[in-house]
């Protein structure tokens, strides 16, 4: 039987939740990822599935302040996806938050779609704060935003950025880390997706960036190590960042989330070949069966 794809129009509220409430949201996002990548016939399955739990808490757990009806709201917190290739998880999240219709998920990576293969600021897709896709740049843009907020506008916004672990092989991310600590950006939260996978293999084999936590500590971050699939731990980590921000701790926060690439889809889990591949029809069927 041919696989027929439909996206529900379900949206989720952004509010404090009990840990178990996030499974439903993450499941919906993971299903969106599989469906949209299957339709697109290209794109990155592994890292998007692996970060779905983090996105669920970040956007639907009352961590970030935002208003989908007023994307440019002056008091909003901001999220920059430095690992631009993970945009399908962000697109699904933004659609499920109500920024735009889930109908757009049908046209990921298609000509004329606002859902570009890597986020394009020129597309004016609500919720996208910058073009990203050249690894290492987004996190430094986020540092600039955090500097602008803390040092010039002196407002209360929080700035989040998510990088991959292969991404931190780019030297510029350490320039960003240096500047974040130098300017005591306690309004800045760096989320690191530590799945130990990148394109050519395991991060430790391609170019080891370990130990990670000690590096960020040495740069002057408050480092929080978590299991990136454990909702209680994710919630606690963001709460710690919030209290760092509110108490003006004078340090940026790094959340190092140990994750599993392809999480939730049996045959993709912890296998780096799924970094940049979409599922074909058979694989999508199995994946959607897994994600129930």
């Amino acid at each position: 039987m041919a696989l027929e794809i439909t996206f529900s129009d379900k949206t989720f509220e952004n509010k404090k939740r009990n840990p178990e409430e996030f499974s439903e949201i993450a499941l919906e996002i993971r299903r969106d990822i599989i469906k949209s990548l299957y339709l697109a016939k290209s794109g990155h399955s592994g890292g998007t599935l692996g970060t779905s739990d983090i996105f669920s808490v970040l956007f639907f757990g009352g961590v970030m302040k935002y208003n989908p009806n007023d994307p440019e709201w002056k008091e909003r917190d901001r999220f920059v996806l430095s690992a631009g290739h993970l945009c399908p998880v962000l697109y699904s999240t933004l659609a499920r938050a109500g920024y735009f219709s889930t109908e757009e998920l049908y046209r990921l990576r298609k000509y004329g779609s606002r859902l570009q293969g890597h986020p394009g600021y020129d597309m004016k897709l609500p919720g996208i704060e910058s073009s990203t896709g050249s690894l290492g740049q987004g996190v430094s843009i986020a540092v600039g935003m955090a500097m602008s907020d803390k040092l010039v506008d002196k407002n209360n916004r929080k700035i989040f950025a998510l990088t991959g672990d292969g991404e931190i092989e780019e030297g510029t991310v350490w320039e960003a880390a240096m500047a974040a600590a130098n300017y005591k950006l306690d309004n800045f939260c760096w989320i690191l997706d530590n799945n130990d996978c990148q394109i050519d293999g395991r991060v430790r084999d391609v170019m080891s960036i370990y130990p990670i936590a000690q590096k960020f500590e040495a740069f002057g971050f408050d480092v929080i190590n978590i299991d990136g699939h454990n909702y209680s731990e994710i919630i606690k980590a963001f709460e710690k960042f919030k209290s760092n921000h509110e108490s003006k701790i004078g340090k940026p926060t790094a959340i190092i989330a140990r994750t599993i690439m392809g999480k939730g889809v049996s045959f993709m889990e912890d296998n780096y070949i799924w970094h940049g591949n979409p599922p074909n029809e058979e694989q999508a069927k199995i994946a959607l069966h897994d994600l129930k």
Binding site: G120, Y121, D122, E129, S130, S131, T132, G133, S134, G136, Q137, S140, I141, A142, V143, G144, M145, A146, M147, S148, D149, L151, V152, D153, T172, E175, A176, M178, A179, N182, Y183
Partner: protein, 335 residues
């Protein structure tokens, strides 16, 4: 056109530094980032005047460029300046994606540009960045000819929305524009009228062009001199008029002869009104240490090369095949 006089000498970077301060006075959302050479590129003036809007980023040009993007995405007009060798190349990818593709208010200063940075040698003598920067979509690129124009251009790029790059130099160069001399992004300025040959120049080569025109006039040749400080957007009308009126062009720039101002002028004329062009610039070579004036002579960046090139261009125009041809109706090819 009033008589052009030498009004003394001053580096263009001073104009940049002073222009920044004026922008800071006018707009409180102007911020400036430093790259550990603030005294050289004169962002130090802004730093002294507005310490609360100046941020030191250290020796990290890529980071400074993307941080500037973050500021711009937060409603600021964000300037970052370093040596052109590093603020156009070390950060090339950042310029392309975080600045140009985002199409935001990041303004880059490329200082100590060209051969006249002198003794520092080839590593610091940026001679290729006009070629790179002008190919970036959304980007504005200006190369002012003297101190005062640098000041006007700095203010102009600050007031224009979008990504902009301004290229300026280290050494003191002739001042000859005045408060009355027009400057507008997208407009070239005819400094001297003439119908025998058009000399199109930017940066410090504009003064050399004026000197060459003076010498040519002694031979009875009237050269038109155009200050083409706005490389992008480029003033198509002025250039096409020059091609039509003079029938031949000499371009002059402190840059490689490939892909820079000469390339831009050739693109415009090849498409609209093809005429012979001679290119004065550095001929596919790296620079080396030396004093600025000495290097200008060694690398062929003086009025003498412009003068000789003008004679050659005129000869090519008079003897050569002008390239007149039958053109099929281009309307046929339009959608």
């Amino acid at each position: 056109m009033s008589e052009i006089k030498l009004l003394g000498k001053k580096p263009t970077r001073h104009g940049f530094g002073e222009g920044l301060v004026m922008l800071g006075e006018r707009y409180d959302n102007v911020i400036v980032l430093g790259g550990d050479i603030t005294g050289s590129v004169m962002t130090s003036y802004f730093k002294e005047r507005f310490p609360e809007r100046f941020f030191s980023i250290g020796v990290a040009e890529q980071n400074a460029t993307t941080i500037a993007a973050g500021f711009a995405l937060s409603g600021k007009i964000a300037f970052f300046a370093s040596y052109s060798a590093f603020s156009a190349f070390r950060n090339a990818d950042q310029l392309r994606i975080s600045v140009a593709y985002n199409d935001i208010n990041v303004k880059i200063g490329g200082g100590h540009a060209g051969i006249t940075v002198g003794p520092d040698g080839a590593t610091h003598q940026a001679l290729e960045e006009i070629a790179f920067v002008r190919t970036l979509p959304n980007m504005t690129l200006v190369v002012p000819c003297d101190y005062l124009e640098a000041k006007k251009a700095t203010i102009a790029i600050g007031e224009k929305f979008g990504p902009c790059f301004i290229r300026f130099g280290r050494s003191a160069v002739p001042m000859f524009t005045t408060d009355e001399t027009p400057f507008e992004i997208g407009k070239a300025n005819e400094l001297r009228d003439g119908k025998d040959v058009a000399i199109v120049a930017c940066g410090l080569m504009v003064w050399e062009a004026l000197l060459a025109a003076e010498e040519l006039s002694k031979k009875g040749i009237n050269a038109r001199v155009i200050n083409n400080s706005s490389i992008k957007p480029i003033d198509v009308e002025t250039l096409v008029n020059a091609a039509r009126d003079c029938g031949c062009i000499v371009t002059a720039e402190e840059h490689q002869v490939h892909g820079g101002l000469g390339g831009a002028v050739a693109e415009v004329t090849a498409k609209n009104y093809p005429v012979p062009i001679e290119f004065v610039g550095v001929r596919d070579k790296f620079g080396c240490s030396g004093e600025p004036e000495e290097l200008m002579v060694k690398f062929g960046l003086t009025w003498k090369e412009i003068y000789a090139s003008a004679l050659k261009a005129i000869e090519r125009r008079d003897k050569g095949f002008r390239g007149l041809r039958q053109v099929k109706d281009v309307e046929d090819y339009k959608e």
